[in-house]
Subunit: 274 residues, 2 copies
C-alpha cells in the first residue's frame, strides 16, 4: 500500500442515456433507483412483483424512464446493452452469478452487502440542484457517514444550489461573448470567473438574473474588473436576510445587567440614607 493509500477513487459517474440494470425490489433497490434516476439513466428493473417495496412501487408508478420485468434474473441475455448493474437481493448464490457475468462482460457492478463483488461503493449523499456531495468512510461506519452528512447539511451555505446554477449560466454567457478553447482568452475567462466567485457572496450570486449578468459582463468583463453587487445596484442582500442579528441578545443582557446593578445600588444607598 502506498503512503497515500487505503481510500477509494471518488467519482461523478455519467449516466445520461446510459442503460442501468437493477435486480431486486426491496428498500435498498428503491434507493439505487433514486440514485441512478438522479443521473438521468434509463433503468431496467428485474424483480418479482410480490417482493416490491412500497417505495420501489412508487417509482414504477411515477413519471420515470423505467422498464419493469416481473420475474427473477434470467441470465446473460438480461445483460445485453447494459452499461451498469446494481443488485440488491437476498440470494447470495444468484448475486455471485450476476457478478461473474458482469466481470466477464466488463460491465461495472455493485452487489449490495458483498464488498468483494463490488467495483464501486455508494456513500451518504447530499443533493441541492446541481450540487452533489458524497461522504464515504470506506466501509468503516455507514452510521458515522450519516452523522457527518447531517452536520455538513446544517452548515452548508444557504442557496448554494441556486448560486451554482447562476454561475453556470454566467459562465456560458461569457463563453458566448469570448469564445475559444484554451489559450489566452480561456485563461482570462477562468481568472475573471474565479474573481467573481471569490468577491461575491454565495447568496449574492444566487440572486444574479439575466439583466444583472449582462451588466456584470458589460461593466466587469469588458473593463477587466469585478464590480461589487452594490456598485451593480443589485437587489439588496436583505432579500435573503434570514440570519438573525446575533449582537442583539448580547446588548439586551448587557443593558438589563446595567439597569439591575444601578437599581440594586440605588436601593442600597437610599435605604441607608433613611
Amino acid at each position: 500500500m502506498s503512503p497515500l493509500g487505503g481510500g477509494s477513487l471518488l467519482l461523478a459517474w455519467q449516466l445520461k442515456g446510459k442503460h442501468v440494470l437493477i435486480v431486486g425490489g426491496g428498500d435498498v433497490a428503491s434507493g439505487r433507483i433514486e440514485s441512478v434516476l438522479a443521473a438521468d439513466a434509463r433503468v431496467t428493473l428485474i424483480t418479482p412483483s410480490n417482493g416490491l417495496h412500497p417505495l420501489t412501487k412508487r417509482f414504477l408508478d411515477g413519471p420515470y424512464s423505467i422498464t419493469y420485468h416481473d420475474r427473477l434474473f434470467g441470465g446473460v441475455q438480461d445483460l445485453a446493452n447494459v452499461d451498469l448493474v446494481l443488485t440488491a437481493i437476498d440470494d447470495v448464490a444468484q448475486s455471485c452469478v450476476i457478478c461473474s457475468l458482469c466481470r466477464e462482460l466488463k460491465i461495472p457492478v455493485n452487489v449490495a452487502d458483498i464488498p468483494e463483488s463490488c467495483d464501486f461503493y455508494f456513500g451518504s449523499q447530499i443533493r441541492d440542484g446541481p450540487l452533489q456531495i458524497m461522504i464515504s468512510t470506506n466501509g468503516n461506519s455507514p452510521k458515522l457517514a450519516n452523522i457527518i452528512r447531517k452536520k455538513i447539511e446544517q452548515n452548508l451555505p444557504e442557496h448554494a444550489g441556486d448560486a451554482i446554477i447562476r454561475v453556470g449560466e454566467l459562465r456560458a454567457k461569457l463563453k458566448e461573448r469570448a469564445p475559444g478553447v484554451g489559450g489566452e482568452t480561456g485563461k482570462r475567462r477562468m481568472r475573471w470567473m474565479i474573481d467573481v466567485c471569490t468577491s461575491w457572496e454565495m447568496e449574492e450570486l444566487a440572486l444574479l438574473d439575466d439583466q444583472m449578468m449582462r451588466k456584470l459582463l458589460d461593466d466587469g468583463w469588458e473593463k477587466n474588473a469585478v464590480p461589487s453587487p452594490a456598485e451593480m445596484g443589485a437587489r439588496s442582500r436583505q432579500m435573503y436576510s434570514a440570519t438573525p442579528n446575533v449582537a442583539a441578545p448580547g446588548i439586551l443582557v448587557t443593558t438589563l445587567s446595567f439597569v439591575a446593578g444601578a437599581a440594586c445600588a440605588s436601593l442600597f444607598l437610599l435605604a441607608r440614607r433613611r
Copy 2:
C-alpha cells in the same frame, strides 16, 4: 429528463490492485496520480520526460507503485490489461483516439477538459484517513465547489477520521464475537453499533483503545446496553477540549455590566447627597 435528474451518480470506485493508465505529465496529471494512488491502484504513466511537471516528477521519485514510459501514447497495445484510463494532454486529436479505443474495449475513461469524452468526472475532495468527501457542481463551477469544500473542511467534526478508524475496529471486533451474515444477530449488531455512534461524541469515539473496546463489548454488547464514556471510566473528554467554554464570556459581560450599573448609580446618588 426525470423530475429527479440533472445530476451524476457519485461513487467510491475501488482500485486496489487494479491497473490505471495515465497519459500526460503536467500538473493535472500529477493530481490524477495522487487520486488513484489514494485508492491503491497500480499506475502506468506514459509521457515524454521533457514535459514532466515537478509534482509528477516527485511521484516518480517517491515510494509508489508507478511504471513509467518516457514516450508518447503508442496505440491499442498500451491498453492491454488496463482497468481505467485518465488522459491529461494538450493534443485534442490524440485524446479522441485514446477515448475511442477505450470505448471499444469498454475501459472507463476520463479525458481532461473534454466532457464528452468522459465516462466520469472528478470533484473537489477532502480526505481525513478513511473519511473521503467529494463535492461536485456537475461541471457548473469548479471554483464554487472549491469554496464549498473549504467551508465543509472548516466545520468538519474534529477527529472524525480517528473516530471512523476506531468504530471500524470496534465493528470488526463485534463481528468476531457475534459472527454471521444477516439474520437476527446481524440486525442486533447493526442496531448496537448505531446506538454507540449516536450516544458517544465523535471525539469520545476517537479515544477508544483496545482495552476500552473490550470493556464496551463486555459491559455493553453482552448486556444489551450502551454505557456512556463516563460510566466506562473513559479518559476524560478534556484531553481533546479545544472547545472554549462559550458560557464564560456571557457571565463576564453580565457581571461587569451589573458592577458598572451599580457604580454609576452610586456615584450619581452620592454626588446628589452633597
